[in-house]
């Protein structure tokens, strides 16, 4: 249990967060933290509250109880765009790219919070604005080559294959230069080869870009393969937390997944 003042090097620290929908406690008094440059996993059976917890972190839902801190700064209750500004970027369970825009534009939008050009700048295009745009493009291209999509920068994002779209979403989130990257079921719908590539990509993001990553995943091979620490949710409550090994042996987790009451 983390203390109320969380000066503890955690990137993200959620303190007794709850979220009710009417009478339903989708997330119930959950404590959760992520350390610097960690890859953490969040698992649980369907309807366990994983995505709700995610949405609480990103501001899509407001917590009905508890606090969320991003590097000591309270973010619970902020709007999604403000939270992104503070340093959390995400991907979506059901891919949400800007379908009608080019691959490059998608990544450029990811960099929205890291650029400043406003209305006047856009119209006047002062040297500073031009420079910013040039740099943003350079960064976007480097991110695209990082995820292996540089050849497709001018395609419409809707014309990409499924696996490519997943990778593009990750590149787009990275463009926000987040302190914490949230991946919502990144391997869903991928074939084994694509899954392998994805796992490598996630490791590289952490190793080469020094990012902190939290992922929700159903594919146990992926979660167990890359996560250093895993939290398990069931019926909105955190029922276990630990290394992949510990989780695999945990009675409560086994029961939750097998549907036997503990």
């Amino acid at each position: 249990m983390s203390g109320m003042n969380s000066n503890n090097g955690y990137v993200l620290d959620a303190v007794q967060v709850s979220r009710n929908f009417g009478g339903l406690k989708a997330v119930d008094n959950v404590d959760f933290y992520i350390k610097e440059q960690e890859i953490a996993g969040l698992i649980g059976p369907n309807g366990a509250g994983k995505t709700t917890l995610f949405n609480l972190f990103t501001g899509h839902y407001q917590p009905t109880g508890g606090d969320i801190f991003l590097q000591d700064e309270k973010i619970g209750g902020l709007k999604p765009h403000q939270i992104t500004e503070k340093g959390i970027a995400r991907t979506f369970q059901n891919i949400r790219l800007f379908a009608g825009m080019s691959v490059l534009d998608n990544v450029l939008i990811g960099g929205h919070t890291r650029t400043k050009t406003g209305l006047l700048g856009a119209i006047l295009q002062c040297p500073g604005d031009k420079k910013e745009e040039r740099e943003a493009k350079e960064l976007a291209l480097s991110l695209l080559s990082f995820v292996g999509l540089d050849a497709k920068k001018d395609e419409l994002s809707q014309n990409l294959s499924y696996g490519e779209q997943r990778r593009l979403e990750i590149a787009r989130a990275l463009a926000a230069d987040p302190k914490l990257l949230l991946l919502d079921e990144p391997a869903a719908g991928m074939n084994p080869q694509e899954t392998m590539n994805l796992m490598q990509l996630i490791s590289r993001i952490r190793d080469e870009m020094q990012k902190t990553i939290l992922l929700i995943e159903h594919d146990m091979k992926v979660v167990m393969g890359i996560s250093e620490r895993i939290a398990v949710l069931n019926y909105g409550k955190k029922i276990a937390e630990g290394t992949p090994r510990e989780i695999q042996r945990d009675e409560a987790v086994i029961h939750a997944y097998l549907g036997v009451s503990a």
């Binding site: 765009h81 825009m101 490059l104 929205h112 419409l156 809707q158």
Partner: protein
């Protein structure tokens, strides 16, 4: 070379280009359906006319004043209504448009139901061309920039845009403000061309006409709006030859054009490679751009 009649039509085409491209910014690029563009036009038209008549501002100053006031109202209407989505926003803008028209119909200073007379004829073909080019230029620059990408992102997927750190409310208001600014500019040119203005030319039918230009030309495409504006200004004049059947044909042409090219005359859909900031409007998550199935 050109008779005054063609000159007049070209001037109207120019003004309508300003109207259509600025509405396209709101509806085509930002994805906010607006059926009240004529209201901003009328605010610009009256404000510019009154600035000339009562304040004695020079023509350029009046135009700017009218545009600025229209932008102000664009933001003013934008702030409360932009949490509305899709058709609800459309109907709110329609209501706003009717309110503005009725207010102008009853105000003393605007001449009320008698209309405003004696506006000096300052609008020339040159002014219109300059204003239209300026509008296209500015809109193009906005659309090709970070701001334009944010606007299109709002259209494509509001939730994802929000997650990318885009303050969607701010950008929607911005689109309304900029769109209204140019609509006001168009209105100022309009009143200084006809020398007379009356609210009944700014009803919801005119807003619908602007919308038709945008959709016919191709949503989310500036060049499309230019063609749409030219076509829908010229077609009714062409149809004068058909006398009493004119409006009948006009209606039929709208239906047929939509059947032949439902995506508009120009759309980014076909081209696989598209320049930054220019996109097709058809696959977004925005409701009213989706097919009815």
């Amino acid at each position: 070379m050109f008779s005054a009649y063609y000159l007049q039509i070209i001037i109207l085409v120019g003004i309508n280009i300003i109207m259509a491209t600025s509405l396209n910014l709101i509806t085509g690029f930002t994805g906010q359906l607006s059926i009240g563009h004529a209201a901003f036009m009328s605010i610009g038209a009256y404000a510019a006319a009154l600035a000339t008549l009562k304040l004695g501002l020079p023509f350029f100053g009046s135009l700017f004043f009218g545009a600025l006031l229209a932008a102000f109202f664009g933001v003013l209407i934008g702030v409360p209504t932009l949490k509305l989505k899709g058709d609800y926003l459309a109907i709110a803008t329609l209501g706003f448009g009717e309110i503005v028209r009725i207010v102008f119909l009853n105000l003393k200073i605007t001449g009320g139901a008698v209309g405003l007379r004696g506006v000096p004829k300052n609008t020339t073909i040159l002014w219109v061309i300059v204003a239209a080019i300026l509008t296209i230029f500015v809109l193009n620059r906005i659309l090709k920039s970070r701001v334009g990408r944010a606007l299109v992102a709002v259209r494509e997927d509001e939730t994802a845009a929000e997650s990318m750190g885009i303050n969607t409310t701010y950008y929607k208001i911005l689109a309304f403000g900029v769109g209204a600014f140019f609509a006001g500019l168009g209105g100022g040119l309009f009143s200084h061309y006809f020398q007379y203005i009356h609210p009944n030319s700014f009803g919801f039918l005119r807003s619908i006409e602007h919308l038709c230009m945008v959709v016919l030309g191709g949503l989310g495409n500036i060049w499309g709006s230019i063609i749409g504006a030219a076509a829908l200004t010229a077609i009714p004049e062409f149809l004068r030859a058909s006398a009493d059947y004119r409006q009948l044909f006009y209606g039929a042409i709208l239906v047929l054009m939509m059947r032949i090219r439902p995506e508009g005359i120009i759309s980014g859909k076909k081209s696989r490679k598209i320049p930054p900031g220019k996109t097709s409007a058809w696959r977004g998550k925005n409701k009213f751009l989706k097919a009815t199935r």
